[in-house]
């Protein structure tokens, strides 16, 4: 009875005091330690994403190893070799003197490609050319995930060690974009492992639709060309050689066709997947001018160089997609858009050329899961 009365008294008088003191303590703590608390919150956010990245990276490695075992039938366990592959790096050329840097970059990329292919072939001896390309793509996606994880971990640990707000802040700010990219690579892994067409292959799919049923010949490394008659014009349709996962060398292919025809090409039409801005619809089609091609820039340079030599005009038709759709299995919206692009390309050819002209139509992108 007496105890309860004391408690009630405590409630009446002391609670107000306690709340006041609590308020002042919190106020003072936030004055002196506000930034530090904010930093810990940011670190925690990065930490949660890092766990997710670690999980995705491990899954990528597991998928790569399992696919190699399943397709390549290796004699020994390929895990160690896969781990070594994931750590491969490429050093870009020195560009203090930029003259000739494109050729140096091309050489380094060629060496890298040959090295990767040789490595995959020895890891998976029972695989054919198409499967080697698909396995290479799978390993590259796993390698990209490994790299993203390591970079984020580096900044997380550096931030924790130095307790520098700016180190932590810069990684926390770009984290949503990094996570989006990592998730895109994660969904790409299975697509590459199974050899499914991906969103990036939209351009190659349009070219495949154009050249299907026509005779094809190899024109450059991993690239094929078909001569397709259309409304009195001759169209040279170029794409990477499928159905294995590769992008070929469209720069060399376009250059070779131009040289074969001694520059007598009325126009070039390039088709590619392009990154869409937020708010734009998936599969939206846009038209413009210029070499529609991504990558390190070697092919774009070669195309522009050849076009300039003979003063050939260049048109581009792109299909809009985001990074996730570009590397994951082809979406229906993008597939449906390829038919509309086909019509648009035909329209461009009719508008920009006359009967008897020769045109080049190049479908750019990874041709995984797309034949010809």
């Amino acid at each position: 009875m007496g105890a309860q009365s004391k408690l009630a008294q405590f409630g009446d008088t002391s609670i107000t005091w306690i709340l006041n003191i609590l308020f002042y303590v919190i106020f003072i703590v936030f004055i002196f330690y506000g930034q530090r608390i904010q930093m810990y919150v940011m670190l925690r956010e990065v930490e949660v994403s890092l766990y997710k990245l670690k999980f995705i990276k491990e899954e990528g490695r597991k998928i790569a190893v399992e696919t190699i075992k399943e397709i390549g039938k290796p004699q020994a366990d390929p895990t160690d070799r896969v781990d070594r592959f994931l750590e491969y790096f490429t050093i870009g050329p020195q560009n203090l003197d930029p003259a000739g840097v494109v050729w140096k970059l091309e050489h380094i990329l060629d060496v890298r490609d040959t090295r990767f292919k040789d490595e995959v072939k020895s890891m998976a001896p029972a695989s054919d050319e198409t499967q080697v390309n698909n396995l290479e793509n799978t390993l590259e996606a796993a390698s990209a995930l490994n790299f993203i994880y390591k970079v984020i971990r580096h900044y997380y640990l550096l931030g924790k060690k130095t307790l520098s707000l700016y180190v932590i802040m810069q990684i926390q700010m770009i984290l949503p974009l990094v996570m989006r990219e990592a998730e895109a690579y994660a969904s790409a892994l299975k697509a590459f492992a199974y050899g499914q067409p991906i969103g990036d292959g939209a351009g190659a799919l349009v070219a495949a639709k154009l050249m299907h049923g026509q005779e094809t010949r190899k024109i450059a490394k991993d690239c094929v060309v078909a001569t397709v008659p259309y409304e009195g014009r001759t169209a040279f349709v170029i794409k990477a050689e499928g159905p294995g996962g590769n992008v070929g060398k469209p720069g060399d292919a376009i250059k070779a066709v131009i040289e074969e025809n001694e520059g007598k090409i009325a126009t070039v039409v390039m088709i590619d997947a392009a990154l869409k801005l937020e708010g734009e619809a998936l599969g939206e089609i846009a038209e413009g001018v210029g070499a529609a091609i991504g990558g390190p820039g070697v092919d774009q340079y070669k195309i522009e160089d050849s076009l300039l030599k003979y003063h050939i005009s260049i048109n581009a038709v792109v299909i809009k997609e985001d990074i996730g759709d570009a590397v994951s299995p082809l979406r229906k919206e993008v597939f449906d858009a390829t038919d509309k692009v086909l019509e648009r390309v035909k329209q461009v050819v009719l508008e920009k050329t006359k009967e008897g002209d020769k045109v080049i139509i190049a479908g750019v992108g990874n041709t995984i899961g797309i034949g010809q």
């Binding site: 009875m1 009365s5 949660v48 766990y51 050899g195 499928g242 229906k332 797309i370 034949g371």
Partner: protein, 146 residues
């Protein structure tokens, strides 16, 4: 092969920071103490008829503390359970160019666009893979006036 593949996180407890767990449990304990105090004051009110303001404050603080700590615990578990790579189903469309028969099935390893497959059951002509894609059911999009 092309089924929905979901791989969930293997270890969960090791991924939750011990500091967060400690803070959550301290908050929970303090909130429970506040609730007990509030109950004691309410009990005293029936015997002595004292003012209940303190009880209300303690009750509010206690409930708030319990709610926040429970939310944090549930949210941490939910975040961890979201760790999975989901592979959507991909379909292959096979068509007979002669009689137009269309067949849609799940993607199988080795399928590619423009691959000739088994003969058509109707006209015995070789069928062709004409499409491989995935369909994604879009969630209700937030509407913007732009």
């Amino acid at each position: 092969m092309n089924e929905m593949t979901e791989t969930s996180a293997s270890t969960t407890t090791s991924r939750i920071s011990s500091f967060v767990i400690l803070v959550v449990f301290i908050t929970l304990a303090l909130s429970l103490v506040a609730l007990i105090f509030a109950a004691a004051i309410v009990g005293g009110y029936f015997n002595t008829g004292n003012d209940l303001t303190g009880a209300y404050v303690l009750l509010a603080l206690g409930l708030l503390g319990v709610a926040v700590s429970t939310y944090v615990l549930v949210e941490t578990r939910r975040r961890l359970s979201k760790l999975k790579i989901v592979v959507p189903p991909v379909t292959t469309t096979i068509e007979c160019r002669k009689c137009g028969v269309k067949n849609v099935r799940e993607f199988q390893r080795g399928d590619y666009v423009f691959k000739e497959t088994e003969p058509c059951q109707k006209c015995n002509e070789k069928m062709l893979i004409t499409a491989i894609y995935r369909e994604v059911k879009e969630k209700e999009k937030e509407r913007f006036p732009f």
